[in-house]
């Protein structure tokens, strides 16, 4: 089996991640619920994860890092809170439904910066999109369909100039690209733990700039102020009602330690090299159409393509059944990006590469596509 669906979730992880989860399940109590050894073990482990997340993103301190089950919960929290009462928001056509649907649900007026047929967003229209009632700019760091990377440092600077909060969806870039919250003037950085960060599913969260206050989606048990009728307002407790996924966060902390040791540059360089090797191997095959701008210096390690007029699900299934190559077909929860590419009906077959993939695996995927293309020619 060759796993090339890393944009959906990582499959191959450093062994320390599963080991940390197993150890946590046999030793950790409930963080923040008492001060016995097992509870403190959980608290220390989760705090270690906060510190590492904060360090990775150059955030505003570990207490400003709140954990959620996934990036969707983090994005819902940020978007719902910052657009409470309506107003205007700016986003892009590259967004995942984890951004779009919360935006639609708020009822806010939206300006959606369009993408061209190569999946690029022209940010020259950003400045003009601001209105007096603009209350939020939210965008992905990289498209989960084409790998196109947005210049979030530029967007952050424009948002700062207008005094508007800037929310970033780093689902496809955390653990691969350097993200500096402070330098990039990001107000809320939302991340998932199970993709590039190589942690377990069920982990994710957000890092929050101190001048922004978010209302939680949920309130409830916090382990403190039990007689108060309101949930505590101090970060990170303010956004973390109920028991955290301590076992998963133990795995995430181990993964973050591995990332620090390995280095983002080494990870990004390898993933980029694998993706470009695959692209070079398939781009000229008869009937193959690749989507995106591969001349860009920075791209997430994703290659989306189609073969002739075949439904992307059929091609992906063929790759899995005949060649043991696992990819993701369909719409990838990115409806506006598919509209820009003109692939709403066909979808696309997404190959996404991770640090633990090899050149041999890439070559096998190229050969499989060559076989299919020759059969169709």
């Amino acid at each position: 089996m060759i796993y090339l669906d890393n944009a959906a979730t990582s499959l191959h992880r450093p062994p320390c991640v599963a080991e940390a989860v197993c150890q946590a399940m046999g030793s950790m109590g409930n963080s923040g619920r008492g001060a016995h050894d097992a509870s403190l073990a959980a608290g220390r482990t989760i705090f270690d994860a906060r510190r590492r997340v904060d360090r990775l993103f150059h955030g505003y301190g570990p207490e400003q890092a709140a954990f959620f089950p996934n990036v969707t919960a983090a994005l819902n929290t940020a978007i719902t809170s910052l657009l409470a009462g309506g107003g205007h928001a700016i986003t892009t056509a590259l967004e995942h439904n984890s951004v779009l649907r919360p935006l639609y649900r708020t009822g806010a007026d939206l300006t959606i910066l369009p993408a061209d047929k190569a999946g690029r967003v022209d940010l020259s229209g950003l400045e003009a999109a601001f209105r007096p009632d603009t209350r939020l700019v939210v965008c992905t760091h990289a498209s989960n369909l084409t790998g196109h990377v947005l210049d979030i440092a530029h967007i952050g600077a424009v948002c700062a100039k207008h005094g508007v909060p800037f929310v970033v969806d780093a689902a496809q870039t955390a653990g691969c690209f350097a993200i500096d919250m402070q330098a990039m003037q990001i107000s809320v950085l939302c991340f998932t733990g199970h993709k590039g960060l190589l942690g377990p599913q069920g982990t994710g969260g957000l890092c929050l700039a101190p001048h922004i206050q978010l209302a939680p989606l949920m309130v409830g048990g916090s382990g403190v102020h039990s007689f108060d009728k309101e949930h505590p307002r101090q970060m990170p407790t303010a956004l973390e009602a109920g028991t955290l996924n301590g076992h998963g966060l133990a795995g995430l902390a181990a993964a973050l330690a591995w990332l620090e040791e390995t280095g983002l540059d080494a990870i990004r360089e390898k993933e980029d090299r694998l993706a470009r090797r695959f692209y070079e191997g398939v781009k000229d095959l008869p009937g193959v159409v690749c989507y995106g701008d591969f001349s860009a210096a920075q791209r997430a390690p994703i290659v989306a393509l189609n073969l002739g007029d075949w439904d992307s699900a059929a091609v992906s299934d063929e790759l899995a059944q005949r060649f043991g190559i696992l990819t993701r077909p369909g719409a990838h929860c990115a409806p506006l990006a598919h509209q820009a590419l003109g692939t709403e009906e066909q979808g696309a077959v997404r190959f996404s590469f991770g640090y633990f993939n090899t050149e041999d695996e890439v070559d096998a995927a190229i050969q499989a596509m060559r076989t299919l293309a020759q059969e169709e020619a």
Binding site: G32, A35, L40, G43, F47, E63, V224, P236, T237
Partner: protein, 78 residues
């Protein structure tokens, strides 16, 4: 039960702050430890740092050095 005695009790706004202080205190060689916050004390966090009263200056210095906000040093018979 052990006899009650005068103790230094440091309370925090958040668990994160308490754990940050614990890490710094252990690294600095302080002799205290985290305890459940006594019910008689109103605090944002369920964890408190208990130490000997003689450690007050060291604790205070560490809180400042680590820039841990929202912490308060109390003396309680517990």
């Amino acid at each position: 039960m052990r006899p009650k005695e005068l103790q230094l009790v440091v309370v925090f706004d958040t668990t994160a702050a308490a754990l940050a202080f614990e890490a710094a205190a252990l690294a600095a060689g302080l002799g205290g430890r985290l305890i459940p916050v006594p019910p008689s004390i109103k605090a944002g966090c369920g964890l408190a740092w208990r130490d000997a009263p003689a450690a007050r200056n060291a604790v205070d210095g560490l809180l400042r050095r680590e820039a841990i906000s929202g912490a308060h040093i109390l003396e309680q018979i517990i």
